[in-house]
């Protein structure tokens, strides 16, 4: 520990007194001037006679000599003065020796501070007897016990309800799709659902059940086994919580607290017991924090094997958590912030060779950016490899991708598009859908029939290509007229016989574009129904010049409105509820030839007079599919906005969560059903949230005291206090705040990953104020610890029925009534 570090870490957080002060800094106090000229003052920090402090804050540490309040002179200047000093006095430990009470300093005598203050032990000799084995692994006994307890809570009566509970309806179904290998579409990335599929495979499920919500499981669905496999992720949360607390340098009692809270939270328990993604999301969130704390403790052994391993493990964890749900991006952001701060510190280390600097940067980029992206992409690659049959999600993907699915008949469609053909038109923008219309009308603008972009296949997507008004309809006997570049056509909606129409009325969402509607019928219409076909190019044949006839699937087209000169466009703008949240179609006044959202291709094509096609298609490139699917997921996710006309009793607002204002019913509420209710253990949630508020106050008090030069902690102690606090606070904040500004509909289970960080904060603060404080006797610590543990356990026991399943009429469970009486 070098004095330079002391001085630097000691001052204002900005590290540079100049930045935060005014530019004329002349009125230093007298004793300061005296100090800087005194002999000891040359070291930059020394014990000046303590001033009677002006900030009379009673402090809990007042009797504790370990965390001395040593008043120190300010660091006179930046680090450079000390660099010179260091060379003269390389080891100046004795200067601030406090009589052997500084436990943190004594733990490690090697150079450099230890982040978490944990001692690295030499490896023990291999055990010879069982007793010795136990002796050596004593520290692992509590987590093993906790794991066994977790097995009991997680697996106890797990198959009690033989019905499809809550979102099992979705995720069970998606798992089935993997077993049947049919392509489906969902807003979440595929890793979690593939694991559900794997669980089904391992437990011998054949994928034939369609998981209707609330329905009873038939004989052949091994739902208990699948739930057990999912719950195993929930079991693993408990030891992960323990070891994370250990790595964060908490005292043994605090580690117990963290493990108990993870073990006994009813919400975590409840959500882990079903076929859902949340147990995996939580598991990977926990592993990410665990790996990060492991990596942090390797910080003075850069480029060692362990260092590399934990860095890479962090990256892989990030990749996994993001591949389960996008919520994982929040924990990724936490790792990102940590890394930025870490690199900023490294960047300021003038003694570090440039080569090491570059290696540090490279390691972070490789392990924390490239590796997670690879994991994420690999999950999609696997997704595409498994799902190679045509299924319900086809229409979300590009036509070319669909053509390559087993069971798809695009290849046998007629190749050349002609007048009189019935076609479906696919938008080629990322995430584009099929041109669609339905009998419902716009409630705004022209009040004519709606035209949208739709991502599922039905008859309302079919359009006939017809010539202009006055031109003869395609004759069944006459010559076939093929569609060519520059032809003017009408597009007749097959189901309603109305024509695709546009007029100078603002579109409902993209108000600067013209509205597109369906108007008229077989005989009524006007010149606003005319669209000019413009060929862009052909995927197979290349440039526009090579395109003589328009081919289905491969030719990229644009449709220009002949009168208005605008282009038919669908760009992932979502219509409100009256448009069933489908994608808006409008007519873009600007001509942007490069805008893929104005590109369309013919997807399905029916024409009895033309020969059936027999084409081999290019494989759609993986990166294209990957990107397309991600944009489609994004668009669907954005469409999940709360419907103002309908009150969703399951949904809740982020403000409801931290103090657990309400829970979530997970199944029907009939008297004969087993009922589950997603509600946390109140004391854990309340304690966590309160500790977050307290942490900010504590930080403010410490900072103000530092500004007045009260030293409450040793620099490394302070560093450690801040480090754990930062992980917990920013982890919580990053997982919580985005939900506040998100337009999306939110549910209480979105808070579950967030809860972990508030638990860590609670344990951290209890640790800081009580469990590691020298002010309290062992007995007091035991009492506090015992009281907390008992409260947590008792509260869990009281509410255990919510997760284990409640039988009988709900009114008999009066003791579990929660604040909104009508819900439980």
């Amino acid at each position: 520990m070098k004095p330079a570090d002391v001085a630097l870490n000691f001052g204002t957080p900005s590290g540079s007194p100049r930045t935060s002060s005014d530019f004329e800094e002349l009125n230093y106090p007298h004793h300061h001037t005296a100090t800087s000229n005194s002999p000891t003052g040359s070291l930059g920090w020394t014990a000046v006679p303590r001033r009677e402090e002006e900030l009379p804050l009673p402090h809990y540490m007042s009797e504790d000599t370990a965390r001395r309040r040593v008043p120190r002179a300010p660091a006179v200047d930046g680090g450079e003065t000390f660099v010179a000093q260091d060379e003269k006095h390389p080891m100046d430990y004795d200067v601030y020796d406090d009589g052997g009470k500084d436990v943190y300093a004594k733990m490690k005598a090697a150079r450099g501070p230890v982040g978490s203050g944990r001692l690295r032990r030499p490896p023990a000799p291999p055990p010879t007897t069982v007793g010795e084995l136990i002796q050596q692994n004593l520290e692992h006994i509590p987590p093993i016990i906790y794991t066994l307890l977790a097995c009991w809570t997680r697996f106890h009566k797990i198959g009690k309800s033989g019905n499809v509970i809550w979102d099992e309806a979705h995720f069970g179904k998606f798992g089935s799709h993997y077993l049947k290998r049919e392509f489906y579409f969902d807003v979440h990335p595929p890793l979690g659902k593939m694991l559900v599929g794997l669980a089904g495979l391992l437990s011998g499920y054949d994928g034939s059940f369609d998981f209707k919500s609330g329905e009873a499981y038939p004989e052949h669905v091994p739902y208990t086994a699948m739930r057990v496999i999912m719950a195993t992720f929930g079991v693993a949360m408990v030891p992960l919580g323990w070891y994370t607390a250990v790595e964060l340098g908490m005292s043994w009692r605090a580690c117990h607290l963290v493990a108990l809270m993870v073990l006994f939270d009813v919400a975590w328990l409840c959500i882990s017991r079903f076929i859902l993604l949340d147990s995996m999301l939580l598991f990977f969130t926990f592993t990410t924090v665990f790996c990060l704390s492991k990596f942090h403790n390797q910080q003075y052994h850069s480029f060692s094997f362990d260092w590399w391993m934990w860095l890479a493990m962090t990256g892989i964890s990030i990749g996994c958590v993001t591949s389960v749900k996008w919520v994982g991006l929040f924990v990724t952001a936490l790792v990102g912030l940590y890394t930025i701060e870490d690199l900023w510190d490294k960047f300021g280390d003038l003694k570090m060779p440039v080569r090491d600097q570059i290696r540090h940067w490279g390691a972070r980029i490789g392990c924390l950016i490239v590796l997670p992206i690879l994991v994420y992409m690999a999950s999609f690659k696997l997704h595409f490899l498994i799902l190679n049959h045509s299924g319900p999600g086809d229409a979300q993907m590009s036509s070319l991708f669909q053509a390559n699915l087993v069971g798809n008949d695009f290849a046998s469609n007629p190749l050349d598009v002609a007048f009189g053909s019935k076609v479906t038109l696919k938008n080629m923008g990322w995430g584009g859908g099929l041109l669609h219309s339905h009998v419902q009308t716009y409630p705004v603008g022209s009040n004519q029939q709606q035209v949208t972009c739709y991502h599922y296949k039905d008859e309302n997507n079919d359009w006939y290509i017809t010539p202009r008004w006055g031109e003869p309809e395609p004759d069944a006997e006459g010559p076939i007229r093929f569609l060519q570049d520059g032809d003017v056509i009408r597009l007749r909606h097959a189901a309603t016989t109305r024509n695709l129409h546009s007029h100078p009325i603002p579109a409902p969402v993209t108000k600067l574009n013209h509205e597109v509607s369906c108007y008229g019928n077989l005989t009524i219409g006007d010149e606003h129904d005319y669209w000019v076909v413009e060929v862009v190019d052909d995927i197979k044949r290349g440039k526009k010049n090579n395109v003589d006839k328009i081919h289905s699937l491969t030719t990229r087209l644009r449709f220009r409105h002949q009168v208005l000169g605008c282009y038919l466009r669908a760009a992932n703008a979502i219509l409100p509820q009256w448009g069933f949240k489908q994608v808006e179609v409008s007519c873009e006044k600007e001509n942007n030839p490069g805008d893929v959202h104005t590109y369309w291709n013919v997807e399905s094509h029916w024409n009895d007079r033309l020969p059936r096609g027999n084409t081999k298609f290019y494989r759609s490139p993986f990166l294209r599919d990957f990107w397309h699917l991600n944009v489609a997921m994004m668009t669907s996710n954005n469409a999940l906005i709360p419907d103002p006309d309908k009150e969703d009793i399951l949904a809740s607002k982020p403000l409801d969560w931290p103090f657990l204002r309400l829970g979530l019913r997970m199944c029907g509420w009939g008297d004969n059903q087993t009922k589950y209710y997603l509600l946390g253990t109140p004391v854990i949630w309340w304690a966590g949230t309160t500790s977050l508020v307290v942490s900010l106050l504590v930080l403010a008090v410490y900072l103000i005291r530092m500004q007045r030069r009260y030293a409450d902690m040793e620099p490394r102690e302070w560093d450690h206090f801040i480090y754990v606090g930062k992980i917990a606070f920013f982890g919580w904040f990053l997982h919580y705040f985005p939900f506040m500004i998100m337009g999306r509909v939110t549910y209480v289970h979105h808070y579950l990953p967030t809860l972990y960080f508030s638990v860590l904060m609670f344990a951290h603060l209890v640790d800081h104020f009580v469990l590691t404080s020298k002010r309290f006797s062992e007995k007091t610590k035991w009492i506090v610890f015992g009281a907390l543990s008992f409260t947590i356990f008792a509260c869990f026991w009281w509410f255990r029925g919510l997760a284990f399943g409640m039988d009988g009429p709900i009114n008999e469970h009066w003791g579990l009534r929660w604040r909104r009486l009508e819900y439980l």
């Binding site: 204002t12 540079s16 007194p17 100049r18 930045t19 935060s20 002060s21 005014d22 530019f23 004329e24 002349l26 009125n27 230093y28 106090p29 007298h30 300061h32 001037t33 800087s36 000229n37 002006e54 900030l55 300010p74 006179v76 200047d77 680090g79 450079e80 900023w344 960047f347 300021g348 003038l350 520059g486 003017v488 603002p506 969402v509 108000k511 600067l512 000019v532 002949q562 009168v563 000169g565 600007e590 001509n591 103000i704 500004q707 007045r708 030069r709 500004i741 337009g743 009508e822």
Partner: protein
């Protein structure tokens, strides 16, 4: 590089010495600045004389007045939000109560201006495009107010820069960005709040800078003066428009940083000293602004003493303080056996029943009770009449017959002789809610189901139930549901009337009703009272209660402004001027007003911010590596002075990202002023690394330091002149869109002669191509543009 480093190190050593060895070493310390002194160019010293500076600011102010007042009478029609703010001025003059989301100061000033020019407030500003001349509105007087304030903003911006120690030419640069900005001009010429907001914002900044400069003369009269001025102008900003609250936040952030520095142990101040500073700021920047803000509202409420269009927003007790208010005039205590009509507060439908019955089976297969329908009906009808039946013994006469809070009552439908009831049967449209129906009054078999608890809003126990003002909920006694309605129509079998049902959550908003009218009464006194209409004196209500209610409503309604607007734009578009707002169009003559800024000025400003961030970022990185590329004085200037502008900019900009209400580009104008200041100081830094020091006034405890001067040489005036000409040309080019005049220039290349002719002749119009030429960015959406692509 190493040489530079040596110098810094040397300076550092001396910097430490200077504390000990006194004034003599100060010269050494500043040696590298002193070196510039002799070379200060002639033009620089000339421009920075008092006279030159005064001349520059005078010229800028005159041009500002000219640009803001030019053709201020055109168009003589209601433009954009004049619809609102003009109307509010009328209300002040008519003293009729209105409700708006913005605090009243700026609107009060409009009212004052209107009163000043003799406007009688007769015009209602109904639609954009309504003619002022036809309606004899002295609108020029109203528009003159923001035009004056908008013009004065230019010299204030200049003064801020001057006070911060920048050269005349740099201060002029910042002022020119505001002076020739089409958006500021357009916004200042019309009856809108933003000019007032920006005026007070710039005054706040100016006062704060003056205050900060006096920090070595703390607690002197001038120091107090500028502190209180800061507080006053800050309160005025806040009271002008609701986003003025951001100015309070910005000043708050600056003050917190300031206090944090005072708290610093190294400064050697005692805690007593700190608390003195703290209390002074609390008084000047919290207490005083609050008092001013409240008094503005007090004036507002004192003026608006008559009933007006804003009544309906307010609570009954508030409404009763307004002269001539319906509640005040027609509110009577209700007695048992009175016949009344009952209205739903949110949707204004009557509680209605008719002999038709609910169909046995609904479309979705659910079964009804087939009881008599109870619906919500929007029109007057004898089927809306209900008689209040007591459930307790009543005295023959007297006040014992009055219906009171928490009474249990029955409601008898007069025409069908049935009483209102509800029961555990699902309502026609919502399976979760209970069906409302009626039951024959003589059949006592379901007596209990016809009992309702009358629960008045905010009532004391035993309070009498009054028509109009007595808002109430009707809670069913056995099942605890509240009579509730929502704007959904029943099918044809109920003539598309509105559904009424029993909601389990009695606290829902849609469960509030009131008695619209007492149709008939058995009480002769009341009957007589109903006949005559007397002029009642308005009641009085505590100002703070009124203020609290109004403030809460303003916040709620402000957050509720989420409807989409074709010209609304996201904050990300604003600094780059990606979109404007069409304020007004007139087909005849193809005239339009389009709010858009001067691209050169806006991009220079946003460029300035980017360069500033770049400089600081590079400096931080360099210092992290032990290099110090910027001299300390200059660096401090960048952090402290420009930093303040950046805080103002950021605080007035970033919160908009969190707002879900509709946003317009004019919300960026306060930030744009701040960014112009940033651009000026960045230009100063880029041109030369010299600054004018010291700018702060010396105090008794501080040793004087030698004066240094900034020197930008000849290149600064030249650059700024070129910039000004470019700004002016583009300003002229876009001005047809700003002033709504058909252009007096075809394009900015045209000669002075054509300019003059066009100044005189207003009739010629911009062709489509000329409109297209003015569309500098493809994202601007102008009217009357030429069609780009012809037909095939």
């Amino acid at each position: 590089m190493s040489g530079v480093q040596d110098v810094r190190q040397r300076n550092k050593g001396k910097g430490i010495n200077r504390d000990a060895s006194g004034p003599s070493s100060a010269v050494d310390y500043d040696d590298h600045n002193v070196a510039y002194l002799p070379s200060r160019s002639y033009i620089e010293s000339f421009l920075n004389t008092e006279e030159a500076s005064a001349a520059v600011v005078a010229i800028l102010t005159i041009i500002a007045f000219f640009t803001r007042f030019y053709k201020i009478n055109h168009p003589d029609q209601v433009v954009f939000d004049e619809v609102h703010f003009g109307k509010f001025a009328s209300y002040y003059i008519r003293r009729e109560y209105y409700f708006d989301v913005h605090p009243p100061l700026a609107k009060l000033l409009f009212g004052l201006a209107g009163w000043f020019v003799g406007y009688d407030g007769h015009f209602d500003f109904e639609n954009i495009g309504d003619s002022y001349t036809e309606n004899h509105v002295p609108y020029v007087g109203l528009r003159a107010l923001p035009a004056i304030l908008g013009s004065l903003t230019v010299p204030i911006v200049y003064a801020i820069m001057k006070e911060c120690g920048y050269s005349t030419i740099i201060a002029a640069f910042s002022a020119i960005i505001i002076l020739f900005d089409n958006a500021h001009v357009a916004q200042s010429r019309l009856i809108l709040l933003d000019a007032t907001l920006i005026f007070f914002l710039s005054l706040t900044m100016y006062s704060y800078v003056r205050f900060k400069k006096l920090r070595y003369q703390e607690f002197s009269p001038q120091w107090w003066g500028w502190l209180l001025a800061t507080g006053t102008f800050m309160a005025c900003t806040w009271a002008s428009k609701v986003n003025g609250i951001l100015t309070v936040v910005a000043v708050g952030v600056a003050v917190l940083i300031d206090l944090w520095d005072i708290l610093d142990y190294k400064k050697g101040h005692s805690m007593q000293y700190f608390w003195k500073h703290f209390i002074a700021r609390a008084a000047g920047l919290i207490a005083l602004p609050l008092v001013i803000y409240l008094s503005v509202f007090w004036v507002h409420l004192a003026i608006l003493s008559n009933t007006g269009p804003g009544d309906a927003f307010m609570s009954p007790s508030f409404q009763e303080t307004l002269r001539g208010n319906e509640l005040l005039m027609k509110s009577h205590e209700i007695r048992y056996y009175d016949t009344v009509t009952i209205k739903h507060k949110d949707t204004q439908v009557y509680l209605h029943s008719h002999p038709e019955r609910y169909p046995l089976k609904y479309d979705d297969g659910r079964i009804s009770s087939q009881g008599q329908q109870v619906t919500g009906y929007g029109h007057e009808d004898s089927n809306n009449q209900w008689q209040i039946i007591p459930t307790k013994a009543l005295p023959e006469t007297g006040r014992g017959r009055i219906v009171r809070h928490e009474d249990v009552i029955q409601l008898l439908h007069v025409n069908t002789g049935t009483v209102l009831m509800t029961h555990d049967v699902a309502s026609p449209l919502m399976a979760t809610n209970e069906e409302f129906t009626t039951w024959p009054k003589d059949d006592h078999s379901r007596y209990n189901d016809t009992l309702f608890h009358l629960r008045l809003s905010d009532a004391a126990p035993g309070e009498a139930w009054k028509s109009k003002s007595g808002h109430f909920r009707l809670i069913h006694v056995p099942t605890k549901v509240a009579m509730w309605s929502h704007p959904t129509q029943l099918p044809d079998w109920a003539f598309k009337q509105q559904e009424i049902n029993g909601n389990k959550n009695a606290n829902e908003k849609g469960a509030v009703w009131y008695v619209n009218e007492i149709v008939d009464s058995q009480d002769p006194d009341l009957k007589a009272k109903l006949e005559e209409v007397e002029m009642k004196e308005p009641k009085r209500l505590n100002f703070f209660k009124k203020f609290g209610e109004l403030q809460l409503l303003m916040l709620q309604h402000n957050a509720g402004l989420t409807a989409s607007h074709p010209y609304a734009s996201g904050p990300i578009n604003w600094p780059f001027l990606l979109s404007g707002i069409s304020f007004w169009t007139q087909n005849e003559g193809q005239k339009q007003i389009y709010l858009i800024g001067n691209i050169i000025g806006w991009w220079a400003s946003v460029g300035g911010i980017c360069i500033y961030i770049g400089i600081l970022g590079a400096d931080l990185l360099a210092r992290r590596r032990g290099l110090e590329p910027i001299p300390d004085d200059v660096r401090n200037r960048l952090w402290n002075s420009t930093g303040f502008f950046i805080i103002v900019w950021a605080v007035h900009y970033f919160p908009f990202y969190l707002m879900s209400r509709q946003l317009f580009i004019h919300h960026y104008l306060p930030s744009h002023v701040a960014s112009a200041l940033v651009a000026g100081s960045v230009l100063s830094f880029v041109l030369s690394e010299t600054i004018n020091t010291p700018v702060s006034a010396w105090g008794p405890s501080v040793k004087p330091r030698p004066t240094t001067y900034a020197d930008h040489g000849v290149k600064a005036p030249v650059m700024v002149a070129v910039f000004a000409i470019a700004m002016f040309s583009l300003y002229l080019f876009i001005s047809p869109l700003t002033y709504g005049t058909p252009g007096y220039v075809h394009s900015f290349q045209s000669s002075l002669r054509t300019m003059l002719t066009h100044l005189l002749t207003v009739s010629c119009r911009l062709t489509g191509e000329q409109v297209n030429a003015r569309r500098l960015l493809s994202s601007w959406t102008l009217h009357f543009a030429a069609k780009e692509s012809g037909n095939i």
